[in-house]
Symmetry: D2
Subunit: 337 residues, 4 copies
Amino acid sequence: MVGQKYMSMLCDHPYFEISTVTGNKSVGKTYFEAVQWIDQIPLSDKYVDLEIKSTEPKSVDADFVFSTLPTDVAKKVEPAFANAGFPVISEASAYRMSDNIPLLIPEVNPDHIGLIKKQNTSGYIVTCPNCVVAGLAVVLKPLYEKLQITKVIINTMQALSGAGLLGVPSVKIIDNVIPYIKNEEEKIELESQKILGQYANGNIKNANINFSATCTRVPTLDGHMENLHFESTLEMSPSIVEKTLLDFHPVPQQLKLPTAPLDPIIIRNENDRPQPRLDRLAGSVAGMSITVGRIRQGINSKSICLTLLTHNTIRGAAGNSILTAELLYKKGFLKGN
Amino acid sequence: MVGQKYMSMLCDHPYFEISTVTGNKSVGKTYFEAVQWIDQIPLSDKYVDLEIKSTEPKSVDADFVFSTLPTDVAKKVEPAFANAGFPVISEASAYRMSDNIPLLIPEVNPDHIGLIKKQNTSGYIVTCPNCVVAGLAVVLKPLYEKLQITKVIINTMQALSGAGLLGVPSVKIIDNVIPYIKNEEEKIELESQKILGQYANGNIKNANINFSATCTRVPTLDGHMENLHFESTLEMSPSIVEKTLLDFHPVPQQLKLPTAPLDPIIIRNENDRPQPRLDRLAGSVAGMSITVGRIRQGINSKSICLTLLTHNTIRGAAGNSILTAELLYKKGFLKGN
Amino acid sequence: MVGQKYMSMLCDHPYFEISTVTGNKSVGKTYFEAVQWIDQIPLSDKYVDLEIKSTEPKSVDADFVFSTLPTDVAKKVEPAFANAGFPVISEASAYRMSDNIPLLIPEVNPDHIGLIKKQNTSGYIVTCPNCVVAGLAVVLKPLYEKLQITKVIINTMQALSGAGLLGVPSVKIIDNVIPYIKNEEEKIELESQKILGQYANGNIKNANINFSATCTRVPTLDGHMENLHFESTLEMSPSIVEKTLLDFHPVPQQLKLPTAPLDPIIIRNENDRPQPRLDRLAGSVAGMSITVGRIRQGINSKSICLTLLTHNTIRGAAGNSILTAELLYKKGFLKGN
Amino acid sequence: MVGQKYMSMLCDHPYFEISTVTGNKSVGKTYFEAVQWIDQIPLSDKYVDLEIKSTEPKSVDADFVFSTLPTDVAKKVEPAFANAGFPVISEASAYRMSDNIPLLIPEVNPDHIGLIKKQNTSGYIVTCPNCVVAGLAVVLKPLYEKLQITKVIINTMQALSGAGLLGVPSVKIIDNVIPYIKNEEEKIELESQKILGQYANGNIKNANINFSATCTRVPTLDGHMENLHFESTLEMSPSIVEKTLLDFHPVPQQLKLPTAPLDPIIIRNENDRPQPRLDRLAGSVAGMSITVGRIRQGINSKSICLTLLTHNTIRGAAGNSILTAELLYKKGFLKGN
């Protein structure tokens, strides 16, 4: 699912173009033969005849690589590429929590790029977070900085594409909700604390926020919805929260990176928004803005509720990786066109 | 939707039988002609030819009435029936919060029946709660009494049948979630506080629990799922919460009322339960037990998360009303067979 | 649903722009207030403040009108507009079968425009067909002309948007199929015979094809799928059918009308296409091409099966009307920019 | 999916009880550990601790075996069991078309049991048809015998459970229809012709009916819907078709077999029935009756349209196999309690 988004999003990219696609059982086939294309945007003709190569450094002719490998495969393959001189931008969870590897959302912690220097390889690895965190941390960043929030209770209603093509069989989810996604709740806490953490002297000091997450799978195709209830040590009103989110103007927007939407966060004032089907493609770069709605007082005057929506395979995966590549390129860490 | 559940659940009832069905535009038709039957249990032959009567006391030949009227209609019609001598068991929200009218869940607050004495009519009105509260309050009752919980953050994923036959158009909800249900969040707080409140000297003192609710509509047919995060002034472990719920043995089960399930609360230990489609019909009386799962520590040692599932048109509506009627009958407030 | 498609498709149109929107209960509101916008393409800012006018000639300042009125309303209102001098392009079924009113698909029967001369009003009415016929007749046109087909058995699986915003309640269609759509099967036969009929001397001689239609509603949002089994008096092979469809190059494509897709018919050779979600937006003008697949021998050597897919609110409604307006404009029957 | 139906349907069976369950990767586990139970009827306690055995004759202690093996496995394993003395009642397609193996629907061709004599093994194999044919052939049997139908055009809308637990990923089918099911269309023709064929002198003469089938997958959980258009050499009216179906009183109903529903075919006269969700559990044995509706004239006076609905994992699989076992038992081909 995510691979198909890369193909669409990089089809006419100003900095990068796809030179090689690798695979496993499909090596030697064309991309058209290998893929079960299910994106509503049709496969571009320019990729139809790309030959699938094996996933090893010597097969790849590229300035850097995007990795969407399964965790266990990534664990071995990504260091092999880094050792062979490739910058690796990875969505795998294998190295997200490593001390010397940045876990990046360009809007949130671009300075964490500094960790790359601590890697003793000719190439390097940077990672991108879990698809829930990719939206969550963007919203929490200004709230944490300006309003000193300390506790976040999060309930997610996650889309099917987040589990991959074969992840959720139809007979399990139609007319149903599954209140469990393996390892997801732990990742939300750990990854958010690292991403929102402070970088200094080559180290990251985790953010001081506690999380309690409940993750559910619902029968939507794309778009993770997240209901937050967060508390601060200070009084907070819905209007100050709204203002804080609207005032957020981070690095990718300042740099006008091609995949950065004009508004990283869009606020809807209707009482029944955001909705996955109506808001998942929000933003000047479709699917890259996070939509926030239902901002209201929480259980007391120091707590607030809100609902946010992130396109999980765009903002939560391919889009965040491409935006990361653009940031690295602008900062001189990557070659491009 | 709810009316159809009454027809099925009362079809072979040991105390009661349906003598009259009333309607509005369909007066004079047979029940078969008037109804758009969509329950998977087929309409019983014994109701096919029932003639629809007008909704006024003089048309009704019965010992008591169940009311599933819309709020604004209930506001006028229910007192008319009470004045004409009928006990009225109502699911409408019109009088739920009235000082002299009990809001009943037989497992939770059977003693609130005492409020009936304060009504100066030859008949009387008792009410049943909102479909979310009908499950929620059963779970909170033992937790509030034994573990002194003080704060509840609740996120619901509610089924379509809760909105009635025409409530949610298909084009709005397929591949979607709607993060808003009108008036629902307020009702959860107010009704729970009344139901869990203490009855003494003809008055109810509201329970001292704060709530923050976020209600969403998801594309399931039946079964409201509720994710709770609750806090106490005391330390709480998942095992003490589990034990507290399992030890709950309230009045309807003690009285062996026909619609009372053997277990008011069923606990599932699999990590992906409860699920609406698999658990909504749980219980020795199908759909009357509440299924609880995923009991685990919350954001700190004084907080717990859990997920519960209630069949919204059975436990959350028709079943709770019928159980209420059974309780009233056993206590001498109603005539039956 | 269809109204919202007009707003999107006419937003940057080279010939036409929307001057007035009319309504009934919403007169005086802005379009933003009046509409329940549910299209994934957001409402354009330029329409937000349009004031809704009443549906009568004197309220309308326009060179011509599109009508998406309900049949019974259209019956009175459309002649009133025609009498007041307006050309009316209508999707209502009220006048589709009238002798002096063309039922138009620009790719199929542009010459039927001639019927307009028979209307004795200062304006005139032209109509567009049912959303199933809008795709069906485009495919049948070359087959009827070149291969002399005489019998068509059609089974449809129609999308929810075809029934309008409130047409199909979600509790009726999730995990279900409804094997009946009121009046639909009759319309398919009658409208197809008129559209495929021959225009001569101011009259239409119906096409000599018999139909048997079975129409079902399935839980898809957009995109009507139609399985055809058709017979000829001649032998037919799948390849000759494919060639006949690909060779079809009708008037709107010859005139390069702005809403005419480069290919009126797209053929997919994969064995599992067309699919509603993957193919409904096919075409150089999204949603205006009809996708055909699974062309194969039928029950004998003179019969063929195929599956076609039409976007019901674009090609089957708004798009066909706009294309009709473009044809009328090019032929001098309408004023434009 | 089908295995779970066997467990439920045999739980309190008057003739048979389950002694052994076999598996492959799960050998040694308990049934509870091995199964991903997703049936709404909960797993019976009596099976929870059954140990999974390997699929070979020496591991099985039983009077006969039901086989739901994949085709390629069945090809080897079923003859091994037959050679070891077991009667095998199989749902696999491996041997359905073999000359000396009956393909049985007890209502349709009980006399085909005679083919067993032609098998030179101490045990034997009988097979059950494809899940579409299991309903189709019951309806066609009286029509073929009494009305001499010669051509059948069939369009199916098949449920997800027909493809097994992992058969259809949710991301492929939500908001979609897939117009292709591998090998299904061929099976419908071949299997129907054999089942409806005449048995004489140890041979089957195929029925003289031509078929053209189009099979689609729709997002329903259970219940295959089939739209038929059939032709005869004779004139046929809807009423004669209805009468012919209602008069059908085959062997299992005459023998009052425990899994035979009182009515093999139920006719609904509402214009929007049968519907999968409302009718799939029809019958005095839930899910064993076939519901027929929308009987009406077809494309000419010698053709008729109708819609039928079959529960694919009950009537189309487990139920038909169990009914076959009951027939074999009554006829002395099986031992039981």
